[in-house]
């Protein structure tokens, strides 16, 4: 009997958007374009759109900071007050372009877009969480018992990454130099992925599903590996331990190894980008299926709504796991690559 009440409550929650949908009148010319809706939510934007109630758009405009490539003048405006000569280029994913002698030219665009604001929010969350944890350690002595509660949970997570991933991959001698970078990368990716799952304001922007962000993270790993590699590492790339005919007249193996130096961070970039973008796209697609079902009539509506609600619950839970796993895999692979760059002779 108790479980019956819980089940009924769950069903009621699943059908909660029902009255909202019953009131919504779709204009006749406006068909539901699911691919466009999904891509719009995945892409970056010059304003943060929160919701649309009837005709009113609720959201806020973000500052646009552009420097004309023609006159060199800086403009500060919002998406509704673009100066003359600038326009949103639909062929270039809605980015701001400038009309110069009939051709469209991209100006220097340093706008605070939705992804930038989301990254700042994640940075603020990271600072608050970790500075609070650090304060606990400053106030307590080494001989006190271990922290409990939130600080204890963060310590468990940090120690797990530190010991199982970083120390075991890089080795005792060098791991302390790279632990700050690797821990930052792990928590940044983890928190950004988690905040991307929230449907509403301080979260909801698809940051790690943006290939530019993951490109930068991969470049950071590339620099961390190659700028500090020891001689053993570079010797293994340019003169590997293989039969001479593969190295001497035509450097086949060195070419392959050099290619590998670039493909490993490239794989890191693509893995994180594709996983997060695919996850967000699936969640958005299932949500759009609900709206699609209701335009087809009440019978299809209820059926598709129930199906989509259950699939959404499953997908969101899966995405929670994927958020952690992708951050863990990125950090682990970066640690392994850094460890490979500091190999001692004779391993």
């Amino acid at each position: 009997m108790k479980q019956l009440k819980s089940i009924c409550l769950l069903l009621m929650l699943a059908l909660l958007p029902l009255p909202l949908m019953a009131n919504e009148q779709k204009e006749d010319g406006e068909a539901l374009n699911i691919p466009e809706l999904v891509l719009e939510h995945l892409a970056d934007a010059y304003e943060w759109h929160i919701t649309t109630i009837g005709d009113k758009h609720i959201g806020f405009d973000l500052p646009i900071i552009i420097r004309s490539s023609q006159t060199g003048e800086w403009f500060f405006c919002t998406a509704h007050t673009l100066p003359d000569g600038f326009f949103f280029n639909e062929e270039a994913h809605g980015k701001i372009y400038e009309r110069v002698d009939g051709a469209a030219v991209r100006p220097l665009d340093l706008s605070i877009t939705r992804n930038v604001l989301q990254i700042w929010i994640v940075v603020a969350v990271l600072l608050v969480v970790f500075l609070c944890c650090a304060r606990w350690y400053k106030k307590h002595d080494k001989t006190d018992k271990a922290p409990g509660g939130f600080v204890g949970a963060m310590e468990m997570l940090v120690m797990m990454i530190n010991d199982d991933v970083i120390k075991s991959s890089i080795g005792e001698k060098h791991y302390k130099k790279y632990a700050p970078y690797l821990l930052t990368v792990f928590f940044f990716i983890f928190f950004t992925n988690l905040l991307g799952l929230l449907p509403i304001f301080p979260g909801g922007s698809n940051v790690t599903g943006n290939i530019n962000i993951t490109f930068f993270l991969a470049v950071c790993t590339f620099l961390a590996v190659n700028l500090f590699g020891n001689r053993e590492y570079w010797k293994d790339i340019f003169w590997p331990d293989v039969p001479v005919f593969l190295k001497a007249p035509i450097p086949i193996m060195p070419a392959i190894e050099l290619f590998g130096v670039f493909t490993k961070p490239f794989a890191l970039m693509i893995r994180l980008f594709a996983n997060m973008m695919a996850g967000h796209a699936m969640i958005l697609a299932f949500t759009c299926v609900i709206f699609l079902g209701w335009t087809l009539g009440p019978a299809m509506g209820t059926g598709l709504h129930l199906f989509s609600a259950i699939m959404l619950l499953f997908m969101n839970t899966l995405e929670l796991l994927v958020a952690f796993v992708q951050a863990y895999v990125f950090t682990m692979l970066s640690a392994v690559f850094i460890g490979l760059a500091h190999k001692e002779h004779g391993h």
Binding site: R271, F273, A274, N275, V325, V329
Partner: protein, 79 residues
């Protein structure tokens, strides 16, 4: 004539994208299925190690999915 050729080419590109993504997912499904099967076998042999085996399984699945998503990202350019 040219326009119908161009339209056909674009349609073929989208068809290629769909077929490529489908084939990539077959590979991913087979790979992850094998990983899951071996993991379950290993847990059946030694239930005390199930924590470590589960971690390894999730990790290796992430790599296999990475490969499949490579192919899907490449196909997405063709849409």
């Amino acid at each position: 004539m040219i326009t119908s050729l161009l339209l056909a080419a674009e349609g073929l590109a989208q068809l290629g994208c769909g077929i490529g993504a489908g084939i990539a997912v077959i590979g991913a499904g087979l790979g992850i299925g094998k990983i899951g099967g071996s993991a379950v076998d290993a847990i059946a042999r030694q239930p005390e190690a199930s924590g470590q085996i589960f971690t390894q399984m999730i990790l290796t699945s992430a790599f296999v999915e990475g490969c499949a998503l490579f192919a899907i990202a490449a196909c997405a350019f063709l849409i």
